[in-house]
Amino acid sequence: MTLDAATIDPLRPPPRPERRRRRVRVGEVVAVLFTVALVIASVAPGLLAPLDPTAVAPLEAFRPPSPSHPFGTDESGRDVYTRLVHGTGASLLIGLAATAIGLGTALVLALVAVFGGRVADGIVGRTIEVLFAFPALLSALLVILVLGPGPVAATVAVGLSTAPGYARIIRTSLLTVRASGYVESARLLGHSPARVVLRTILPNALAPLLALATLGVGQAVVWASSLSFLGLGAQPPAPEWGAMLASARVYLTTAWWLTVFPGLLIVATTLAATAIGRSLDARSRRSS
């Protein structure tokens, strides 16, 4: 009796290959679209909002949302929508730069810890703890003490204060990857340590971080806005979400739209970043 070849071929792929089309989630699509809009707003804000974000019209001040001013006008009669769009770049830059500073510092710390031997690991471990002991806003104030207030100080401060968290995660991730079977396989092939680190360890260890970083961007914007509230953040009249939110707070009872729209935008950005971060995370998880 001959066997049905298809039935017994041990090389047949699994019954449900994981590569089946993933169901597209509405949330993810919205998040991606929103992000695209953010990118456009950062690169070419004029496309979405042709008006001048700093042009004042004192007699038009405090207009509630209307067709001509969808998000209303602020205390100087400036169009809130236009300012939000034009503020995207600066706000995201703060978020991205802070996250980059945090991640960069963290990466250096973690690499030294993991590949620098026991002593280095101990030192870095303590360094991370010390950085942890300087909570975000405190270290922000400390940086401001040295650099003086302003967006640069705020960005550096927020960035540095996120570093220890990232460093811990990267370190664990590096350790896991270093101990993994595929790194051992690479070593067994006689590859040089540098090649193994660059081609195998880093890409795998950093993948889950991407997801985290997207979350960090939104958080950084929020923190920077707290500094603006304390009078230590961005400089006028450049529109920046955090600064807009902070300065609008004064008019909360008389002009709700001034706070609501920047607030919504920050939250929406964080949500979109989280959604994208999640799905990247899920992808990198699925792959490991």
């Binding site: 002991a133 300087f134 975000a136 806003l137 509230f229 939110l245 909360l252 964080t270 949500l271």
Partner: protein, 324 residues
């Protein structure tokens, strides 16, 4: 592993070793923080002697400046100043505030309790809220998860200053339930604590829900259900502890975040506290106060790390009996 035979001896020994290691770690972190702050504050632009006399707004004379330099040792080499600063710290001498003309220790003594009470209550409330949020979500429901996600992210993305204002508008001005500013009574604590707690609750819930989901999906959950365990029992007896572990690990960090948030909350609710002292000190470059506040917050962090570590060891037997 050799665990099977030496469990009892290992446990006691590992507790002792843990305690010793924690103490050493705490000392190192404190010393390093002090050193870091010392050198950072030396980077502050401007003449420290002038700052000591109240900054450029004061009209300090040359003689006064010279006297101050002499007194604080600003004319000594940096390393000598560092040595002096560390010796002073060992004597628990934090120096005198430039702007308030008071010993820093006294200022901290006045303000730390308020902030610690605020932060501790906020942390507790955050835990309660996070646990409630976590437990409320129904298992495996995608809509539920999405709603949970949104609530948590929105909660963790609202700036304190904004939340505080909204809470005041609703619960003080609108409903007159709580006073809008601190009154020294428990009622006056409610809004500040809630303001501080909500963002961190969102964050903790986010972390907890992730690990709760993982716990509920894990094989031991299936075997618990297969024994006839109820959904509630599964959560309370099994999954919750797993969910709490990572959040517990984050609590020391969260406390730091709360102390930072206190800067804003104390300003809004007019509460005396560490945060406001710090903000004030930074605006006038009052280095001794800044140093003091940072050291206190480092100390609090260190203590809390040890506490959460100990709690983690209580909850997670895998760590307590770990052999290295």
């Amino acid at each position: 592993m050799a665990l099977l035979t030496t469990v009892h001896g290992t446990r006691a020994r590992s507790v002792a070793r843990w305690a010793a290691r924690s103490a050493l770690r705490a000392a190192v972190v404190l010393w390093a923080s002090a050193t870091l702050v010392f050198f950072i504050t030396r980077l502050v632009p401007g003449d420290p002697a002038e700052a000591a006399l109240g900054g450029p707004g004061s009209q300090a004379s040359e003689e006064a400046l010279a006297a101050v330099r002499e007194r604080f040792g600003f004319d000594q080499p940096l390393i000598v100043q560092y040595g002096m600063a560390m010796l002073a710290l060992l004597r628990l001498d934090l120096g005198t505030s430039y702007s308030l003309r008071q010993p820093v220790a006294q200022i901290l003594g006045d303000t730390v309790p308020g902030t610690v009470i605020l932060a501790v209550l906020a942390l507790l409330l955050a835990w309660v809220l996070a646990l409630a949020l976590t437990l409320a979500q129904s298992r495996g429901s995608r809509v539920g998860a999405a709603v949970g996600d949104t609530v948590e992210i929105v909660a963790s993305a609202v700036p304190h200053f904004w939340l505080g204002t909204i809470l005041i508008a609703v619960f003080s001005t609108g409903l007159s339930w709580f006073p809008p500013v601190s009154t020294g009574t428990p009622a006056g604590l409610v809004l500040p604590v809630v303001t501080l707690a909500i963002p961190i609750a969102g964050f903790l819930a986010h972390v907890m829900r992730g690990s709760l989901d993982e716990a509920l999906r894990s094989p031991f959950a299936v075997s618990a259900l297969a024994r006839g365990e109820t959904e509630t029992g599964l959560r309370s007896r099994h999954a919750l502890r797993h969910a709490a572990l990572p959040a517990l690990g984050l609590s020391a960090w969260a406390f730091g975040y709360l102390v930072g948030g206190a800067v804003v909350v104390e300003t809004i609710f007019a509460r005396p506290g560490l945060g406001r002292s710090l903000l004030q000190a930074v605006t006038v470059r009052d280095v001794p106060v800044v140093t003091g506040v940072v050291l206190v917050s480092a100390l609090v962090y260190v203590v809390l790390t040890i506490v959460t570590d100990a709690l983690t060891r209580l909850v997670d037997p895998r760590i307590a009996t770990e052999v290295r």
